[in-house]
Symmetry: D2
Subunit: 510 residues, 4 copies
């Protein structure tokens, strides 16, 4: 039987320890009490190491793989990859968790408070400059983006944790009841955990995506096994150590590094009651089949922006377009993939301003950087196919970055925009090509005439992945028309609308 | 002790009876099974009679008062007015209801279902053309307004009842719970009734206001005593008979006709745990003092409308202004009392269109009619005071209706608009005069320049009663500025905004 | 493009028509204005016919199949089965609906009110004795159960519709918003439809399950294609005609009869954005794979009941056990499959009372009747396997019904209970056998000692389908122990707990 | 006009400052950066001083009053009491705040985030041992209670603040919307502030009550003036300084020390739109009248506990009774005032155990201490009146504390319990006497026979103040009977039920 008692024991001890160290933190200038490495010192000569966590113990592996520094190709991180023959402890660990979870409203409710405490302490840790700098730099090392972009990820994570301080975790477990038909009868509705669950997350937000999903699962009483894309898993490995330091019972989460095949085998054997997968549509579909539908998917998006007929604040709109398309080198799920400009915008300086802004991006400050899932060649090849479409033209970019030492397994492309005429986009032969998502600094631009809005809406309806979108207009009738005739995870509306930037408060409002 | 058993007995019997009559209703062309009179036949020679209901019995009185027909002065309704010495049965009836009510989530929950049934049946009754015509005409007889306006009141009431069909009453009693600190501990939040309560309602919506407030009170387990302004109480007297026919236990509601002094005495003796008062601010303040704060007030409003800088759809906006100011002869709580026009509207045909629409109103179809709380003289006197303010002028109206037989205790005024300059309105000497609410077909009109919006906002801030308002504009920044800097019960925003028209779905959304 | 205008046109016309007939209904003793057949007259000589509905038109088929009367084997219903080559119109119809649906908060919001009206009218129709009798009898003809059980299904459906009268449909579309980071920024959360969807429902509740799922889909703006198990689809075919009569636009719902292979092909081609499947786990798993996870499943349950240590109200508990296990011949998803008795109950008359109640069930009044998915032989074979388990014994039943004319493709079994010792149930060799769901009048009974509760909980944890359960006890600590350590869709708790009986108010509380 | 800009300016500056000091806090062992005094050093020779805060400035007064140390009578605190002639700055400050508040969803929404930050920082401050000890000791100095009881107050305050970290303040401002009748129409519901408000709080919880009410008001955009009972206002004066340190704009809150008459005058002149008063019923009634109902009242309670027929855990129940009646010397609003014992408890050791526990309370550790609103004589006189009721008897206590130096303006009584027979309690002559609330270590005990529950319920129904109650039983039918027939702010149910202990999560669940 599962020993809840054991995990409670962890709770009792941990906060004391954490508290004792609160002040050490400020006295010592050199080390973070939870960390096992220094973000800035990882290098070919002093590689970082990433361990696995199972049944409360950090473990290595018989098979360590090596990661290349995306900026210079040095072998800078070693990862303990779990092989197919080593999954048994993980399967056992997950199976020990019953379907009714580690806690629920009728079992160990004090754990809701424990998680309120952990969130409070972890949020405070991330608010300390030294800690937030540590994670910001660690993110930059493995998922190159500007300091500001990486810091934002840490701050969103901090705010998310702040949202679950105090009693807020137990408030998540709020139930309801309505009177029944007779005296003594009531119907109650409770939130129950799944029990054993798996979380699989991608490379582009190494901290925010896994942390938010992990904590959400834990709050409600699930026992998750977490697998982060090995290219960036060093970030969450350190974050889990921080959570332990803040009181997280060490047996509540397992953490694994492995290839996809091994993870698939593990899932088939351990049979978690729910798997949350964030990543490519291709893998998502395979998982849906293998897990017989017991999977929640957060997949990609070919995110569109429409500029409406009311032209205003051209400077601001250009800046947002640049950010949406090229921040994080276009490697946000919500990055702007296609821009539909109303003809009124064509006569403005919009495109030239966008070009100027793109030109200011540079490798030195990582405002543009390595692309982790497409090579330079692959992106240029895609661009060349697009340029063969009648009427297409290169607006800017379209070349490899200069003077870089990015290894060739990664991509290195200047921020690029290709214009394709609307009529051509809609043609069957072109549509699939134009709407292929390129997870890099790459966007399509097109124009529509006043009477062509139905064509634009038709183009949107035919897309497959609907993650985010933006309708840039303050005209209430135009907004209504576009919003009422489209479907997206998130639609930003208004003159200052953007496709990116979903903050922590979008995630857990409900 | 209160006998819940008795009221349950009524429940078991009533639906059968009601159902048996369902079909009679269609066969008989002449009478409604619940009604004791015909709306169109009430007259000096055949006066209608209004009874009281207490402890399950309809009763007369030792003192019948008489009501004048507002259209021709005939003595057309007799009312059994309860005197100060006759209140004992009402005091007793109310006192018999315990503080925990006739039902609550732990007592007689089957009554939530009973009230779902009553609402279903009553809503269906009101959907029958004969029944809706009966109440529409009855409303017109005592609170003269156009057929359409009176019918709307019946329809809103029907929709309200439809909203509480089936299980919706018990869903109102939905509770919540959150996990406690230890195993076995949970905190629950329940909605509990007040027990004995009083409801006092005005003349202008004889059916909608009392019915909605009455049912809301009953749904949650309260025992109300209802007093409607005697001028119109005949409508609710008949409606309560309809509710009985649909299964309402006869002891659940008491209904009283009396003067204010008697009602005050009753309240002091019976000491209901909450009184809901809709009516004049003057009485409201006295009640707040007498009942030591145990009162909820729905008082009047000096309702404003602002036309923003973006001129559009002048015809439509004029029509809404006419409806807002003069429908029901201006005797809605939400009637437009003052109109602030942006200067851009001054050069349009707005005011002349408003004048044309006002001219089309006539006594024959009651698009303008008797004013029940102001005499003609009182309104003209107020107008003349306003016209002495420098820069003021009469826009239209300002005369007594022609060829009418409205008795002199009531008012008979053509739809009237007076222009007063904004700067004058703001002066201390004028402000109280200009913002005095006239419950009749009367409005103030003023104009503001592009840079005078702060003066308008200042005028709004200084008002006392904030019921409804309208900001007529599609400009998002203008809307934000006005909405963010004002306070109202309901603010309508957008080019088609109005001050009147709160439908049933505003009331019970939460 | 889809023509919303067309469906609105239907709306405008239909209510008038429906209303005109309201009264005809009471005058004519013979026919229902929407129905195309008489429930009691269907027979071999006058078979009922079931059509398909697509793109607003009722259509037959080139291939009519025939259904046997489950009580006497007559060929009493003809069904227009759509073949694989005839699916094109259905694929087209579904494809015409855009992903943003027929309505959403920014598109055709008047349709929320339309659906409030349809629900009001349809609920009222079902409240008329002639209409409710029609559907009750029609259900009995194809899914034999007692009049009371069939009537309950009609009444639950009526109550469900009552819950969505008036404004309640638009209240379902309630959205929320929170202030953003800056002036002018807010985040809104809206409920959006899937657009084209499919609903597939089983035989056991021919009216309730499809109607509730269909209306829920329609309320939120989806366009559903509905497929009901052909054995009982005649009921929903008539119900859709009633809905049309009450104002449902004829193009809003498609209705199809076909075999599973054809339906599968249709789904693969039309690619609905969500499919709601209620039925066997086997088909459910195949659908999850074929539809790549875009499916919501309501599958079976091996529903358990535990009698706690506090013995009380033995008569009542026996009666509930009999109802839970054998009402509808055990063909409810929520039927009691296994009973865990605390040893304190063994010494009472519980089992003998259960036997007496089972003996009173008879074919004449359909308190026991045909089993539609298991033959008599299959059930007896399963029973015999169970009786080979050491310590097992037949408690009662275990024989074919006497003097019946149920065709041999269906089952005819007396209400049956088999005792299996708890220790044997838990053995690996036996567990799968004992927990196999038999969708008929069949249950397992076992006993546990005071110290064996952990074994019981272990047995529950190992089950696969967790639909409903009952914990029969008023002991708060026992309840907490069992509830906190199990997982179910619905758990009934308390001395009067049952496994069956989920009423309309369970479905849509949220 | 009010300058929102000014308050925003404060925001920008404050967090930086606060953050800079975060670490100082840990380095310096001696002082708290926000505090102006040391809790343990206040004494006759070094009195503490309490200032007022108005329009952003801490100010003294022309008239300082002096407070006696409740433990030894020393003049240990000086208070700057504002006189009737000095209220003008306070009136002006309040009047500057418009009715739409300092922020609302359409005005300065960034202030919701500011208050999330302030809460985060203040919660963290209270989590630091030095800070929590400071407030715990300060509370003990002015409102003598045990260290544990005073610490609990600090911790509840900390948890409350944790509940409003991050985005939780803006989530409070969550609005909703439902679709309207036509395209382009939606109804939105927003939470709006009152604008200028007043908060008046009592002596017994010097930190928790004012802080929770103050922050709740601020979160939603109100501008409060706070008046805490001068006997304890030193605690909130220091707490406001802490809030300033954590970023609270100095103009957002005014803080005043004055007598009741002055405060009344201030309220009449400044006319806040809502006043929240916690305190005696007598003052509450006067305020309701003076403020014409614009007041929310949290008054006293004569809190009852019923022990049901099922006797269990006598030790635990005795301990809870002792805590409920005598912790904080009975000076909680929720303190147990009367205990109804089922006869089954009479034969147990309950009363003797309660006596033993009461005997262990002593002045040294403040488990019993000064009574701030009743003198010893007043309490003994009340006791003696009770003892004249036939059948009454002293169970324990009933004497002045020994060896104390509590000044005679305060009370000093041993924990006391008086038994009064149930039949006597119910007599008209006795009822008012017995149910008089004594805000000190004093309770009534009575007994009821199995068939006397209706008499008990009758006694409860006749009470006036219904704050908290406890039904000590695990019998579901008994619980249902008592809960369904009573009314209270909070009812605790179950064998471990208590009357006291409302934690932070009760306050803001909704």
């Amino acid at each position: 039987m599962y020993r809840v008692v054991a995990s409670r024991a962890f709770r009792a001890g941990a906060p004391q320890k954490a508290f004792g160290c609160w002040f050490n933190l400020s006295r010592s200038a050199h080390t973070l009490p939870f960390a096992t490495l220094e973000a800035d010192e990882i290098s070919g000569s002093k590689p970082g190491e990433v361990y696995n966590l199972v049944q409360g113990k950090w473990t290595g592996s018989s098979n360590w793989s090596t990661l290349l520094d995306p900026l210079n190709g040095e072998q800078f991180i070693r990862i303990a990859e779990v092989g197919e023959k080593e999954i048994q402890p993980y399967v056992e660990s997950l199976s020990k968790c019953p379907k009714h979870g580690l806690h629920n409203p009728f079992k160990s409710p004090e754990r809701y408070l424990l998680y309120g405490d952990i969130s409070t302490k972890a949020a405070h840790m991330l608010s300390l400059p030294k800690v937030s700098n540590f994670f910001t730099r660690l993110i930059q090392r493995v998922s190159p983006k500007s300091y500001q972009q990486a810091l934002s990820e840490v701050q969103v994570t901090q705010k998310f944790l702040e949202n679950f301080c105090g009693d807020q975790v137990r408030f998540l477990a709020r139930s309801f009841a309505v009177p029944g038909n007779h005296l003594g009868q009531q119907s109650h509705g409770y939130r129950w955990p799944y029990g054993p669950v798996a979380i699989i997350t991608p490379f582009n937000f190494p901290l925010e995506i896994p942390l938010l999903q992990l904590m959400g699962a834990l709050y409600m009483g699930n026992k998750p096994i977490l697998k982060v894309d090995s290219k960036v898993s060093i970030v969450m490995e350190q974050m889990i150590r921080l959570l332990h330091y803040c009181g997280l019972p060490v047996e509540d989460v397992d953490f694994i590094n492995s290839d996809g095949k091994t993870m698939n085998k593990l899932l088939m054997e351990a049979n978690p009651r729910m798997t949350l997968f964030t990543g490519s549509s291709r893998v998502a579909e395979k998982l849906a089949v293998d897990l017989k539908g017991r999977v929640k998917l957060e997949d990609a998006g070919f995110d569109w922006k429409i500029l409406g007929p009311d032209v205003n604040e051209v400077d601001y709109v250009s800046w947002v377009c640049d950010q949406d398309a090229y921040a994080c080198s276009g490697q946000k799920c919500s990055a702007q993939s296609v821009l539909f400009m109303h003809e009124n915008w064509s006569s403005t300086s919009l495109l030239s301003k966008m070009k100027d802004l793109a030109d200011r991006r540079k490798l030195e400050d990582l405002t543009v950087g390595p692309v982790l899932t497409f090579t330079t060649e692959a992106m240029l090849e895609h661009m060349n196919k697009l340029l063969k479409v009648p009427g297409s033209k290169l607006l800017f970019g379209g070349e490899e970055l200069k003077n870089h030492s990015i290894p060739s397994i990664y991509g290195a492309l200047k921020p690029t925009a290709v214009f394709v005429p609307l009529e051509e986009i809609l043609k069957d032969g072109n549509y699939e090509l134009v709407t292929r998502e390129i997870f890099g600094p790459f966007q399509i631009v097109t124009e529509y005439k006043q009477d062509q809005l139905p064509l634009v809406l038709n183009a949107l309806e035919r897309m497959h992945a609907h993650l985010t979108a933006a309708v840039v207009s303050n005209d209430p009738l135009f907004l209504q028309e576009v919003i009422g005739n489209t479907v997206n995870g998130t639609t930003y509306a208004g003159l200052r609308a953007r496709t990116t930037g979903a903050p922590q408060n979008h995630w857990w409002v409900k």
